[in-house]
């Protein structure tokens, strides 16, 4: 029983991190039809920012906004330098570009910080926990989950109530008609990247708090998970992204718990295998309603 509760908490925490990543990926995809593989590098960027500024003795109260801000700045730069030139290009071109951007950023991190992982020294209170019955619950997991839910709620209200949010949604379905509303197209796109940057920054905070080392390729694995979550949920559906993320986390925790000893290196293989099976029967994802485009055409 205790084991189950422990794993549920584990699942909620992992699912939250995946959800934050998946939301960022889904948001950019829904508006620009761009699968931004460099989203993971936005997280790495925040990781190095924490490492770098911590080295100068900047207190954690400031490091949190710095980490988020650095992801936002990186996201906006990414749009300006790489993606803006490719507005309206084929989805496949965009996808390849994002791979290229991702690799370039990884190489940049390698040049700037070297290949060896850098430890980020989180303050002790990150490990704080409390005990209920026999269960040890880490505050970080609770905070991760609550902040994620708060973000999902805020994002929902933002997308439903604010004009900018409405413009993001209308731009996702019809860009030209959105311009006819007198809305500046660049502002919508930059706004999308700002929101995606905030999401990546928050995800990085929680991710690195549980895995406190940053290396040039740090962002790849969480990005992959977040991406798979959006695919399972249905590309472009924000609700789907969140549900896909928690589903992926549940699968992962379940497989991890049920596999005995030496088999746990296969967790990813099994989880991704199940994801492939889901897509075999629901090619558009669980919540994707749009028809699938054949990229070979």
């Amino acid at each position: 029983m205790n084991e189950v509760v422990q794993q549920i908490i584990n699942f909620l925490s992992i699912g939250s991190i995946y959800a934050l990543i998946a939301l960022g990926v889904a948001l950019i995809f829904s508006i620009l039809k761009l699968i931004n593989f460099a989203h993971g590098e936005l997280m790495t960027f925040a990781g190095y920012a924490m490492f770098f500024f911590h080295g100068f003795g900047v207190p954690w109260l400031l490091l949190v906004p710095i980490a988020i801000l650095s992801s936002v700045v990186a996201a906006v730069l990414l749009e300006r330098v790489a993606y803006r030139l490719l507005r309206g290009a084929q989805p496949l071109t965009l996808l390849l570009t994002s791979f290229a951007v991702s690799l370039i950023l990884q190489s940049g991190f390698l040049l700037a910080f070297g290949a060896r992982p850098k430890a980020i020294e989180f303050p002790i209170w990150v490990d704080a926990f409390f005990i209920v019955g026999d269960i040890r619950i880490q505050w970080l997991d609770i905070v991760t989950f609550c902040v994620t839910m708060l973000i999902v709620l805020t994002l929902t209200v933002f997308l439903r109530r604010s004009i900018t949010g409405l413009a993001l949604r209308s731009a996702a379905s019809d860009f030209n008609t959105t311009k006819l509303m007198g809305i500046h197209a660049n502002r919508v796109i930059v706004g999308t990247f700002v929101v995606a940057g905030v999401l990546a920054g928050l995800a990085a905070l929680f991710y690195f708090a549980s895995t406190p080392v940053v290396a040039p390729k740090s962002g790849f694995e969480p990005m992959l998970k977040g991406f798979i979550a959006t695919v399972i949920g249905g590309m472009g559906s924000l609700v789907g992204a969140v549900i896909g993320a928690f589903l992926l986390a549940a699968l992962e925790v379940f497989v991890e718990v049920t596999l005995v000893g030496s088999l746990d290196v296969y967790v990813d293989a099994i989880v991704f295998g199940i994801a492939v099976l889901i897509l075999r029967f629901r090619p558009a994802g669980l919540f994707g309603l749009r028809r699938i485009e054949d990229v070979r055409a």
Binding site: A167, K179, L180, M181, I183
Partner: protein, 258 residues
């Protein structure tokens, strides 16, 4: 702010001394190597309804899209109130007072009627939106009754009213309408033309693209006919014969009792 009901102070009709509200001067539109519109000049005076006619692919929609900066211009100028807006971006053109209700209505179907209308007023304040809403409800009562419905669930005629209502929230001086009656049931078509006339009575200047030649000429002050991207004829709508235009340029042969 300027309200819909404030009528532009002008003599109306054509030829008001060279001060047109909207003027195309030798406009060209090119998509890659394909020339959709060639050297097309057109004028719209304040308070007029001007109609732009022609067959499919004649360049009517391209002309409207080029005016609001959504189609690439290859030459010529667009003047609004004497000011050159040829190279302005769409959002600036809309803020200056020209907007387009695009072909196929293009309501945001997964947004509600309310959200669609609020986007129409994106350039305005919330107070302005609230002040304008009763006026729009008065023009289009159906938008009131279906205010929280998803736009995609409205009928074609209702969507057309939503698209026009949405455009009005930007307080346009000139409203470009691209085939507003396309795909609508005959009884709804009549109400769309009725709406266009009521808008004009409220001081909105209208450039109307239509395939329904007879009805368009019936409400328009003047008309232009495009064929293969070139101006073929123009004149006061009473001088243009619907039957002739349809036969010569639209390939429609109708038996009419004379």
């Amino acid at each position: 702010m300027q309200r819909l009901s404030v009528k532009e102070d002008s003599s109306g009709g054509g030829g008001n001394g060279g001060t047109w509200l909207l003027e195309l001067d030798g406009l060209g539109v090119k998509y890659g190597p394909i020339e959709a519109v060639k050297d097309f000049s057109l004028e719209v005076g304040a308070g007029e309804i001007v109609t732009l006619l022609g067959s499919n692919g004649a360049g009517k929609s391209s002309t409207l899209n080029a005016i609001v900066g959504l189609a690439p211009k290859s030459g010529g100028r667009v003047l609004f109130d004497g000011q050159d807006i040829t190279s302005d971006q769409t959002d600036r053109i809309v803020k200056k007072g020209i907007t387009l209700v695009p072909e196929g209505r293009r309501v945001f179907s997964d947004l509600t009627v309310e959200e669609n209308l609020r986007l129409g007023g994106a350039t305005r304040t919330r107070q302005d939106f609230a002040a304008m809403l009763p006026e729009i409800f008065d023009l289009f009562p159906v938008l009131n009754s279906r205010y929280s419905a998803l736009a995609g669930l409205l009928s074609g005629g209702e969507q057309q009213q939503l698209a026009i209502g949405r455009a009005l929230f930007s307080h346009p001086k000139v409203l470009l309408l691209d085939e507003p009656s396309l795909g609508l049931a005959p009884i709804v078509v009549a109400s769309v033309f009725d709406i266009v006339e009521r808008l004009r009575d409220r001081g909105v200047t209208i450039l109307l693209v239509e395939q329904n030649v007879e009805r368009a000429l019936a409400i328009a002050d003047r008309g232009y006919v495009l064929a293969s991207g070139r101006l073929e004829m123009s004149g006061g709508s009473e001088d243009l014969s619907a039957a002739e235009i349809e036969e010569a340029y639209l390939g429609i042969h109708t038996e009419r009792p004379s």
